[in-house]
Amino acid sequence: MLRIRNLVKRYGNGEPVLRGLDLDVPGESVVSIIGASGAGKSTLLRCINRLVEPSEGSIELNGLELTRLKREELRKARRRIGMIFQGFNLVDRLTVMENVQCGRLGYLPYWRAALRKYPAEDIERAYHLMERVGIAHYANQRADALSGGERQRVGVVRALMQQPEILLADEPTASLDPVSSRQIMELLQSLSQELSLPVLINIHNVAEAREYTQRIVGMRFGKLIFDGGPDDLDQSAMDAVYSGTPAAERQEAAAGSWRMATS
């Protein structure tokens, strides 16, 4: 269960990117976050594992308040949050197995990480997950030898190796061709069910969001303005999420004339 209350993020002294955002994600659900570029989707995800420091508000994961954790506690908490990136963010020159084992780094003693002496159960688990997503035969290949879709599977397995309590996916399909993109979405959907794992997906492709997720959240200019099932996302809701430009809204907001109902 992820609980976000009144989340605000502002870079420097500028206009806030997140403007008092509330969101609840109960267990085992796949939630898509849609919205125009610059709406703050990526910032929202990065606030959850604090790759970006939130300015105000609270984020609670299964009862643990994340926003006030100190360094060591934050590291421990991050192990419970898996993340998947638009650019895969693999270490190109390492093998697929090493990339996958990166997900266990938070648990391993330093010497094991340095010597690549991974515990037997981690290797077992890695093979199991890699077989599940169909990349086990690449274990000894360098990560940059794989195609985009395969690389994203490595990214998914790396996140799952953490045995996370939630999965954050930041535009996981935006760098992929349509076929790989659908495969990754299917994979995320079925993994969520198999592992009883809540998944939060930032996504540009609204058709994929409708097809693979039960719940869609629409963001606009740092706030949630839509929250419902795929069927509730009608034309007027789409217009509300995507029309206008962030720049124009920023100006309106600065002038204080901008009002919007929260969902």
């Binding site: 594992n49 790759l51 934050l74 590291r75 421990k76 908490a77 991050r78 192990r79 419970r80 949050i81 898996g82 993340m83 990136f85 650019g87 963010n89 693999l90 270490v91 190109d92 020159r93 390492l94 090493e98 990166c102 997900g103 780094l105 938070g106 391993l108 330093y110 990480a113 340095a114 990214g155 790396r158 996140a159 953490q162």
Partner: protein, 266 residues
């Protein structure tokens, strides 16, 4: 008719370009005139120089190979100086590169410390370092090794530091997100990205150090230079010739080995 023809002349440069070229040329000419005019040269010596150089060469033939074993041993010693010093410098340069790179340095103080070490190491020539260490540790190989090491640190640290600054940030972000500690992020996300530069730079420096090691002996810091200096002082020009040939062989072989290593490793 005649005016239109005159207008159709072609010039390679615009007036502004021509001015800049002219100004540059003037600066060069002035610099040269100043240099030639005020330099402390005894001109008869200059006119005599070709004859003197020719004379020197004539005294070098044929090269004297009677002390070849001593020369070969000195070559091996030279090689050892270069290799040991490069190896030690490579190890020591790693932490310096780490603190001298803007994206990995722990804080501002360490950044400036790192840069200070790099600049002072790089700006002082190997031979000047050697002078200092010969004065401290006495003449010998040790002073040479330390001198080469000190000079290499700056070179290696600077290039490695730049490689660290140019890494792809994204894997670093991903590993931070898994809850890995700083040391493990360095190990898994930064080290693999700078490994190619690390090898390239180390091999390059080894090649340079081999050349530098040949002159250490001239200030008493070991290697083939000691024999060269001795032979020059005793005017044994035929031995000098052998030493010079030996140095060419060493340096050319070193270059070949370096090129081969580069192909194999990178």
């Amino acid at each position: 008719m005649s005016t239109s023809v005159a207008e159709r002349t072609w010039t390679r440069y615009t007036p502004a370009q021509r001015w800049r070229r002219f100004a540059t040329l003037m600066i060069v000419v002035l610099a040269v005139v100043w240099s030639v005019e005020s330099i402390d040269i005894i001109w008869p010596w200059v006119w005599d120089a070709p004859a003197q150089v020719g004379d020197l060469f004539s005294r070098m033939v044929p090269p004297d190979v009677s002390r070849l074993d001593a020369i070969l041993w000195a070559l091996v010693e030279t090689l050892n100086i270069a290799t040991i010093a490069t190896f030690a410098a490579v190890l020591l340069s790693l932490p310096i590169a780490y603190i001298a790179a803007q994206n990995t340095t722990p804080n501002r103080f360490t950044l400036w410390l790192g840069r200070f070490i790099l600049v002072s190491s790089r700006s002082v020539n190997t031979l000047i370092w050697a002078l200092l260490f010969v004065a401290i540790f006495g003449p010998g190989v040790l002073a040479g090794i330390i001198a080469i090491m000190f000079r290499s640190l700056g070179f290696l640290g600077k290039l490695l530091g730049e490689a660290i600054e140019e890494i792809d940030r994204r894997p670093v972000e991903a590993l931070e997100a898994t809850g890995a500690s700083r040391a493990k992020v360095v190990l898994y996300a930064i080290v693999p990205q700078v490994v190619p530069t690390f090898f390239a730079v180390s091999i390059l420096r080894w090649d340079i150090n081999l050349r530098e090691s040949t002159v250490l002996g001239l200030v008493g810091a070991g290697g083939i230079g000691v024999i060269l200096q001795g032979a020059i002082d005793t005017l044994a020009w035929q031995i000098v010739a052998t030493v010079l040939l030996a140095i060419i062989v060493l340096v050319v072989l070193g270059e070949l080995v370096a090129a081969w290593l580069r192909r194999k490793v990178i």
